[in-house]
């Protein structure tokens, strides 16, 4: 496989790359993008070479298959701190240029979402579509967005759910169910359920909320087994780099 990727040994020779000017760089760049290998490379990049989870969620990484949330999954969050976890994951999945859509989430605290790493200039708020249009709207969003957060007010039919799931997998978008996937007819790929939490910073009449320790149960179709637990600390911010405008990676 390696030999196919680097078809031209000069491309990987640092001296050649450093000394090249103008045209040379473009040619090798184009070749890297055009070659049949790029398909394989891109697929592997998308599915395995995910960035590490944000530090606060690192305890989850040891439980999750391949150490992270995979693109194309459906993720359900429920219980304590569910929305915070969801926004933390969304901010992480958006990366440097992705968009997030929130469907029917008029009560989502966007300032809080921004603190968890969601880039607010790449958020689209979509009002709840009528039930018969819901699948159409979500399907359209899945095509353009990295993350689509939903909380349907009605139960989704099995055929629609299957189609949406297939579309999301094909487009490598993550569908996040903020109601824990209760309205979803299939088990979600990954379920994060906040079982208990302990708040810091608040006393009896003094202080202010600062952070919490959250016990998360990991479930879902892709979970490695039943009854996997992890304790995460959710302090002010999950993905700090994003809020400061610095690029990820």
């Amino acid at each position: 496989m390696e030999s196919i990727v680097d078809r031209d040994p000069r491309d990987s020779d640092p001296r050649v790359r450093d000394s090249n000017v103008g045209g040379r760089a473009t040619v090798s760049e184009l070749r890297a993008r055009l070659g049949p290998v790029s398909l394989i490379r891109q697929q592997t990049e998308n599915t395995t070479a995910l960035r590490a989870l944000p530090e606060a969620l690192a305890p989850l990484a040891s439980i999750l298959p391949m150490g992270g949330v995979q693109r194309g999954w459906s993720v359900g969050v429920d219980g304590h701190g569910a929305w915070t976890l969801a926004m933390g994951l969304a901010g992480w999945l958006m990366e440097a240029d992705g968009w997030m859509a929130a469907v029917g989430l008029e009560d989502l605290g966007l300032v809080g979402a921004g603190e968890q790493g969601v880039a607010l200039d790449r958020v689209l708020m979509v009002e709840t579509p009528p039930p018969d249009q819901w699948p159409t709207v979500v399907a359209a969003l899945v095509e353009a967005m990295h993350v689509v957060c939903v909380r349907p007010h009605h139960r989704i039919g099995r055929p629609e759910a299957r189609r949406l799931q297939a579309r999301a997998r094909e487009q490598q978008a993550v569908l996040v169910h903020l109601d824990g996937g209760r309205t979803w007819p299939y088990p979600v790929d990954l379920a994060l359920i906040g079982r208990s939490q302990q708040w810091d910073g608040l006393g009896e009449g003094h202080g202010h909320l600062q952070g919490r320790r959250l016990l998360v149960e990991v479930g879902g179709r892709r979970a490695p087994g039943v009854g996997q637990w992890a304790e995460v600390r959710l302090d002010g911010q999950l993905n700090e780099t994003r809020l400061n405008g610095a690029g990820s990676r």
């Binding site: 300032v111 809080g112 969003l141 708040w199």
Partner: protein
């Protein structure tokens, strides 16, 4: 030889139409501005040195008594309609390129009036009364729209000017006729920038080709080789040919869309919805065939059989929104004319026909989906979903500063924002000043659009109150929500928040508290007028 390939066209241009439509006489200095930049000036202002493209301040410093006007495209088009209607008497095929600029083929009318010059005179005679001495009309005849348009901008026998030169402004009308077949020679000395394709002309100028004539001497095949489709188009224009090759496909009749009003529509507002739907339908038809249209014919018919047909031409291709705009302008202008020319009854039928279509050369999506998730895709999705959810159904957040979690952001319709541009207002640095009284992070993830009323009592069961000095009347003990009673395990606050204390009508006195209940859920409570509410929850 080349003359045979292009249609003889007459172009009628009313210079400075944005100014003229505001009713400013030529001897009064005035300028029309868009986003603080001058886009159009009156002749008097030009004499003082005011030019298009200047900033407002610069223009004012050159001419202190300059009248500043805002651009109003709807008004420009509505007031231009009588001019087009006057030309209707000369030919039924008037093409409107925009407010102030129309054209039509000379062939039929020139024969009717006995020659091009006589026809040009007839055009002038028809238009002058409509301008009521405020503006000028320029009529030019040449091979092809492009040459005719440039001819309209020149002084007879003189040089090309960007605006209207003041020497010629005293004449109410200026005519210029380029003889058949001479358009190429006429265009040759013109600067290459008249093509109005900055990307292309920048390169050409650097190659030393600074006039249309020099560019026209290149072989067409070489131009295509190097500059592609746009280059070929420009080359055709420079040679004095039509911009589109003459073998345009004739659109199939089923591409036309129409709507019958029931009952007939008498006000423009009723038409607006239909127009939007029709324009979208038209575009869906064209898209499914891989076509886009460069000219549409919009025809309105009233109950009593009056008809109004207008041809709208665009140099590029007409988007659905552009078609809708033009239909609206046309009907608006018609319904607002003087009593004599206004339709005597409501509009019964509206038909939009794509008159000239060309193969669409839209954006080709990346093969590997590499550019997925980018702002262009989002913009496209927004446009598509608007048809389902309405313009207000899709919003994007922007910071505005404020105290409570719900007040710090406002949401704006996504359609009103260019999503492909950087939006600093959506970045957290937008509001530099800290808002006093704001709570430090983490902010609540769930902000209830309608706060939930709750009861909060102390250990004796008395309702808890906050005094004018911001002190609690007791220890918070239990809270009653919709789900029943819960015990408060920890709390902090109250933090008083007085807003707009200077304004008795809008002032608000509130106090906030954070509370953790016995089920370990955390909430942000607010008291206002002795009533407690859950404003937000730390989900």
């Amino acid at each position: 030889m080349s003359g045979l390939e292009s249609t003889r066209m007459v172009v009628v241009w009313c210079p400075d139409w944005p100014i003229v439509s505001w009713g400013v006489p030529p001897d009064e200095p005035a300028a029309v501005l868009v986003a603080n930049r001058v886009v159009s000036t009156s002749p008097a202002a030009r004499e003082e040195g005011v030019r298009a493209g200047q900033r407002r301040r610069e223009a004012q410093s050159r001419c202190p008594d300059l009248a500043l006007l805002d651009r109003d495209v709807d008004r420009e088009n509505r007031l231009f309609e009588p001019v087009v209607a006057a030309l209707d008497a000369i030919t039924p095929r008037v093409e409107v390129a925009g407010a102030g600029l129309v054209g039509f083929p000379t062939r039929g009318p020139a024969r009717f009036f006995g020659g091009e010059e006589a026809m040009a005179r007839a055009v002038v005679d028809a238009v002058i009364p409509q301008l009521s001495r405020r503006g000028q009309v320029r009529v030019a005849i040449a091979d092809g729209v492009f040459a005719a348009r440039l001819a309209a901008r020149c002084r007879p026998g003189g040089r090309y000017t960007d605006g209207v030169d003041s020497a010629a402004v005293n004449d109410a009308a200026v005519m210029q006729i380029v003889p058949p077949g001479a358009s190429g020679d006429f265009l040759a000395p013109m600067p290459i920038t008249t093509l109005e394709m900055p990307d292309l002309t920048d390169v050409l100028i650097r190659l030393g080709l600074d006039t249309l004539g020099l560019f026209a001497q290149l072989a067409a095949a070489d131009v295509v080789d190097r500059f592609g489709r746009d280059g070929l188009l420009a080359h055709r224009l420079a040679r004095g040919l039509d911009d589109h090759p003459p073998d345009l496909r004739h659109p199939a009749p089923d591409l036309a869309v129409s709507w019958t009003f029931e009952p007939p529509a008498e006000v423009i507002e009723r038409c607006a919805f239909v127009i939007k739907t029709l324009a979208d339908e038209l575009h869906a038809n064209l898209n499914s065939r891989g076509l886009s249209c460069t000219r549409v014919a919009i025809e309105a018919e009233t109950e009593t059989g009056e008809r109004q047909l207008r041809l709208w031409r665009h140099q590029g291709t007409l988007s659905a929104a552009a078609v809708a705009d033009r239909a609206r302008w046309q009907l608006d202008g018609w319904l607002h004319q003087t009593a004599a020319s206004r339709p005597s009854s409501g509009i019964l039928r509206l038909t939009i026909v794509p008159d000239e279509v060309v193969p669409a050369t839209g954006r080709q999506l990346g093969f590997w989906g590499a550019d997925r998730g980018r702002a262009e895709d989002v913009t496209r999705v927004v446009a598509r979903l608007q048809t389902i959810l309405g313009a207000d159904g899709l919003t994007v957040p922007e910071f505005k500063g404020g105290l409570s979690a719900g007040e710090q952001l406002r949401i704006v319709p996504a359609a009103a924002v260019d999503l492909t541009e950087a939006r600093p207002a959506a970045g957290p640095g937008w509001t530099a000043e800290p808002w006093p009284g704001r709570l430090p992070p983490p902010s609540p993830l769930r902000v209830h659009p309608d706060p939930l009323p709750v009861e909060l009592v102390d250990e004796r069961g008395e309702p808890l109150a906050v005094s004018g000095r911001g002190e609690l009347s007791g220890r918070p003990h239990r809270i009653r929500t919709e789900e029943g009673w819960r015990t408060v395990s920890r709390w902090a606050g109250p933090w008083p928040a007085e807003q707009r204390w200077w304004d008795p009508l809008t002032q608000r006195r509130r106090a906030r508290m954070q509370m953790v209940l016995d089920d370990s859920s955390a909430h942000l409570l607010v008291i206002e007028r002795r009533q407690w509410w859950i404003e937000a929850s730390y989900f």
